[in-house]
């Protein structure tokens, strides 16, 4: 178990900056998730912590030791890759014990550690099989087993569930969360899937273009996003953004409607802003009403997502739990003013 600390870390490939000045600390035993769209640098950042990518600038500490220039094996980390990266010519047992064998650990120790990991992951009956004879989920568990056996200070996961089918992904998500509770190690997990981030993380780090956009608990990011990017990235379907113009007296005009600003900050009239409304907050019985014309209904069983256009021509997605309208219907969407979030034109949150 160890604390991971990044101090003004940066990385460039040639003239392209992939990671820019990232400072971050992950507490002992914490489950941290790096999330962001593809190309945001989240995998690169993880690989830098692992030592698979050299650091162009800044320092990395694991458990108080400066590991910026240390070899991957000397950092006390174990990594689970998206492709699992199991050695195809070795049995499950040999795959899991490879690291210990490289470290010349005694045979009894290797056997007991592999046995323990196999027990935790329910792999005992597959120990003599080759990876090719296993299903995707089993291979995934072997890859995790290989990490557990090494008793690392920090576990690193690089999109480990992306290659699994939807059902198995949900199942493994729960198992990984359980595993974290059992082992208690510091874990850093990279994903582009915000559902995985929200369900598993103690803390989420949202990245974009090599910079940290926001760090916080899942609730923080959902309830209180720092900027329009985080607000749009966290939550599914994504938050609706409507153009709002500040009127005299600080009222906001948007989507053919007017309301008082939800922010404390005084706003100058004529300023153009973005009003963020989550689809799940548009299903209230009362509050501000927005008239909309239904274009398309996505029925999901218990709920439905209604795609509609407002008087201003902007499209909006709203969740409907009780009544499900039909295409062409005119509906009134209600929302509580307090659930709206306000962002400047630069995307920064106005509180």
């Amino acid at each position: 178990m160890a604390r991971v600390e990044l101090k003004q870390v940066s990385k460039s490939f040639g003239s392209t900056d992939v990671i820019r000045d990232v400072s971050l600390s992950i507490e002992e035993g914490e489950f941290a998730v790096f999330v962001g769209p593809s190309g945001c640098g989240k995998s690169t950042l993880l690989r830098m912590i692992a030592g698979l990518e050299e650091t162009s600038g800044g320092e990395i500490f694991i458990g108080g030791d400066d590991v910026t220039d240390a070899e991957p094996a000397d950092r006390g980390v174990a990594m689970v890759f998206q492709s699992y990266a199991l050695y195809p010519h070795m049995t499950v047992a040999d795959n899991m014990s490879f690291g210990l064998r490289m470290a010349h650990r005694p045979k009894e120790e290797i056997a007991s550690k592999v046995g323990r990991a196999a027990k935790i992951l329910q792999l005992e009956e597959y120990l003599q099989r080759k990876p090719a004879q296993l299903s995707g989920g089993q291979r995934q568990r072997v890859a995790i087993g290989r990490a557990i056996v090494r008793d690392p200070k920090v576990f690193l996961f690089d999109e480990p569930l992306s290659n699994l089918d939807a059902e198995l992904r949900v199942q493994m998500r729960v198992e990984l969360a359980k595993l974290h509770r059992v082992l208690g190690n510091t874990m850093i997990y990279v994903t582009h899937d915000q559902t995985e981030a929200l369900t598993m993380a103690d803390r989420i780090v949202v990245l974009r273009s090599g910079r940290i956009e926001q760090i916080g608990t899942p609730q923080d990011l959902y309830q209180d996003p720092d900027n329009a990017f985080v607000a749009g990235f966290i939550g599914s379907p994504r938050m609706n953004f409507l153009t709002a113009i500040v009127q005299a007296g600080g009222r906001l005009a948007f989507g053919g409607q007017e309301m008082d600003s939800p922010a404390q900050t005084p706003l100058e009239p004529g300023r153009k802003l973005q009003l963020g409304l989550r689809p799940e907050h548009l299903d209230q019985d009362k509050g501000v009403d927005l008239e909309a014309k239904v274009e398309f209904v996505e029925a999901m069983g218990s709920t439905a997502y209604v795609h509609a256009t407002l008087a201003t021509g902007e499209t909006i997605i709203a969740e409907r739990r009780s009544s499900q309208p039909r295409t062409g219907d005119k509906i009134i969407l209600h929302f509580a003013p307090a659930s709206a979030r306000l962002f400047g034109e630069d995307g920064q949150r106005i509180r």
Binding site: V77, M79, Q82, S83, A85, L86, Y87
Partner: protein
């Protein structure tokens, strides 16, 4: 439907005629050699093309002992085995480095190795010979092994690089995190995973080394290899065709056996070299 089938079958039969002739032209010399190797010199004089009526193994014994094919055979085995093992080790290491590691001038180095594929042996004979003389490697097994390795290495390195480029990088990264040194990664991961390509390379290189005359003629001037020895038989025993053909059969036998055993590998190996990279 049946008309089309019939026409197709007819086309196949017509195509089979030149194929059959081609096969015959390959098989007949082998038959000729084996058949005449079993005749006495007298029988051969009487009937060159007829079947051996009283087959004898005398020619094989004679060729093996009197014409020193036993010694030549051993020389060939040592040179071929040594060169093939060295080629596999070096090309696997080089392929691993060129495909998976990042170091300065990597692409340039690979281009140089590739370009040496295009230079025929004959062009570099003079500098090659001078180097061998300067290093005192002429007339040594080591010299021949190193020469074969040098001349057949570019293709082997190219093939291993192409093969290893197809393996996921994560395997090496996982091994690095597991604490393996580069040499351990090569030994525990790359070498076993390279087996299919290495087996193919071993076969192709065995064929090249075993059948070589030019390089061994230059390097092994005192101790001949089998192919050089066979070529010399032609001059020394020009009136003893049965003895000569027995020598040919002895020289060709290992390669024919190898070919029959690994036919599939040889074909797929040629395809690997052709398609990948």
């Amino acid at each position: 439907m049946s008309g089309a089938g019939k026409r197709q079958r007819l086309t196949l039969r017509i195509a089979a005629i030149p194929m059959g002739l081609l096969a015959l032209s390959c098989l007949y010399p082998i038959f000729f050699a084996v058949n005449n190797a079993l005749k006495t010199r007298h029988d051969y004089m009487l009937d060159r093309f007829g079947l051996a009526m009283q087959p004898t193994l005398d020619n094989f014994v004679q060729a093996w002992t009197r014409a020193h094919l036993d010694e030549y055979f051993l020389n060939s085995v040592i040179a071929t085995l040594g060169a093939v093992i060295l080629l596999m080790v070096v090309s696997s290491m080089a392929g691993f480095a060129l495909a998976s590691l990042r170091f300065p001038y990597r692409r340039f180095l690979f281009a140089v190795i590739l370009s040496s594929l295009m230079i025929p042996v004959q062009v570099v004979l003079v500098p090659f010979m001078r180097t061998m003389l300067a290093l005192n490697l002429v007339n040594t097994h080591i010299g021949l092994i190193l020469s074969y390795t040098a001349f057949f290495l570019p293709f082997s390195v190219y093939m291993m690089t192409a093969f290893y480029s197809g393996l996921p990088r994560e395997l090496i990264e996982a091994a690095r995190i597991d604490g393996a040194s580069l040499l351990q990664v090569w030994w525990h991961v790359m070498l076993p995973l390279g087996t299919p390509a290495l087996v193919t390379l071993a076969i192709l290189n065995t064929l090249s080394c075993w059948n070589d005359i030019l390089i061994s003629l230059l390097v092994m001037q005192k101790h001949r290899t089998l192919m050089v020895g066979i070529s010399a038989l032609k001059g020394q025993y020009s009136d003893q065709i049965p003895l000569f053909t027995a020598g040919i059969v002895i020289a060709a036998a290992p390669i024919v056996v190898l070919y029959i055993l690994f036919q599939r590998r040889i074909v797929s190996g040629i395809a690997v070299g052709a398609v990948k990279g």
